[in-house]
């Protein structure tokens, strides 16, 4: 059997370094407890499979997400960020996701403006019943980030864990 010619993955932002051959992206996922986290649990209960690159942080509501969660994730180990909440109108806390989606749009556009590819930061509305959707969303985001290569932009130097 011929060896597969693997497409080289090169970081889309500068420095355009080639990813090591066994590179796997890290996706930081921030999910709201009542809809998206529950939906992601349903994905698990239904035994639907998705790539293992995502690391999930639970928050009570998408409105808890401060832009610094996104900025700090990108500056530490994450190559991409996925934030997921309840569909508009269905927020467990009534209006949280309405405020959140304004912040999300401006933050995403600002980061793209200063040089991050827009696919580095992605958002979704996943309800507690949408197990299959969550799997699709994670798969898409992981594939998008894989194509973009490792992120080297503005990484924090010398992280020390206290």
């Amino acid at each position: 059997m011929e060896a597969e010619v693997k497409e080289k993955i090169v970081s889309i932002e500068k420095p355009h370094v080639e990813a090591p051959p066994d590179w796997q992206p890290v996706i930081m996922g921030i999910l709201c407890n009542w809809c998206s986290y529950a939906g992601s649990d349903l994905t698990g209960t239904s035994r639907l499979q998705y790539p293992p690159n995502i690391r999930i942080i639970r928050v009570p509501c998408s409105s808890r997400v401060d832009p610094w969660f996104i900025i700090k994730s990108l500056q530490t180990s994450a190559d991409g960020v996925l934030i997921s909440g309840c569909h508009p109108g269905d927020c467990h806390y009534i209006s949280g996701n309405y405020y959140a989606r304004r912040r999300f749009l401006v933050t995403k556009r600002l980061l793209n403006f200063v040089g991050f590819h827009e696919d580095r930061i992605q958002f979704s509305w996943v309800s507690a019943a949408e197990g299959p959707k969550f799997a699709k969303v994670v798969t898409k985001v992981t594939e998008d980030i894989k194509k973009l290569g490792p992120l080297h932009l503005y990484k924090k130097e010398n992280i020390s864990q206290t």
Binding site: L105, R109, F113, Y154
Partner: protein, 283 residues
């Protein structure tokens, strides 16, 4: 544009009638015709005051500080300055009854080249939106126009923009002059100084500047009035207006809100929502 005499008269009257404790205005320095802010607290100093097209600085900034807290203050504000003042009033940072506001129907100030400043060319509201007395003939609200630098940067590639801003973040020395000079940056404990969000990022590094400037501009999103105090104060001459104008553009194009500080009691865009806000960028 010259309201020197009128301002001196007003300030003089306010002091002689004992209506204010301090008046914030502009005075000349010994160098060129650069003007600097001045806080006058007695009648005899009133003749230092002047107002021309070189009266650039947003004086609302001084309402943040000890010198004016709980005092009765008179001050001069142009269109943009007064919008910042409107927001400070909405956000309970200053009491309206303690202020005597001299509003200017501004014709624009000049920049270091002597030509009209960019933010004045693109100004949406030259007339003071809150005032006790108005000097000049109001010319009314103007249409929003996209900042010309933003348009130019949008035309660049992702890599082009990345390179441009890498240099900006590299040259930031984290002096915090931008924060200090912005009227709407009044938090006594700035989030950027706190360990939690910064990860010990007080240091003068590119990545720490990136975090600081991103966070700062997002906290001003929907609140920045484009007075350019921050740019004037920045010792590295960073084009800080780019970040603010970018946010303003996204907000203007996507949310049906008034621009920052135009309307009384109107909070910034992030403190409100509409059921019809776009979310096609969300899967």
């Amino acid at each position: 544009m010259n309201y020197t005499k009128q301002i001196q008269d007003i300030a003089g009257r306010l002091f002689s009638e004992e209506k204010i404790d301090v008046f914030i205005g502009y005075r000349n320095t010994g160098f060129d015709e650069n003007q600097v802010p001045v806080l006058i607290n007695q009648y005899k100093d009133v003749d230092q005051l002047l107002f021309t097209d070189k009266s650039v600085f947003n004086l609302a900034n001084y309402l943040k500080y000890e010198h004016t807290r709980n005092k009765r203050v008179g001050l001069v504000v142009k269109g943009c300055d007064s919008r910042a003042l409107n927001l400070m009033l909405t956000e309970n940072q200053v009491k309206r009854e303690k202020l005597f506001i001299v509003g200017i129907a501004c014709e624009g100030v000049v920049d270091e080249t002597g030509g009209k400043a960019q933010n004045c060319v693109e100004c949406v509201m030259p007339d003071a939106v809150v005032f006790d007395e108005m000097l000049g003939t109001p010319s009314g609200k103007r249409d929003y126009q996209e900042n010309s630098d933003i348009r130019a940067l949008d035309g660049k590639s992702l890599t082009g923009r990345q390179e441009y801003f890498e240099e900006v973040f590299e040259n930031c020395i984290r002096c915090n002059a931008c924060r200090h000079s912005c009227p709407l940056c009044y938090c006594s404990n700035c989030c950027i100084d706190q360990e939690t969000a910064t990860l010990y990022h007080g240091a003068n590094t590119t990545s720490s500047a990136f975090h600081a400037l991103m966070t700062w501009s997002l906290h001003l999103a929907g609140r920045c009035v484009d007075c350019r105090n921050c740019e004037k104060a920045c010792p590295s001459h960073l084009p800080l207006h780019l970040l603010h104008k970018q946010n303003e553009k996204v907000i203007y194009e996507n949310f049906q809100e008034h621009l920052a500080g135009m309307i009384q009691d109107d909070r910034g865009a992030f403190y409100k929502y509409s059921l019809s806000d776009p979310d096609d960028f969300i899967m």
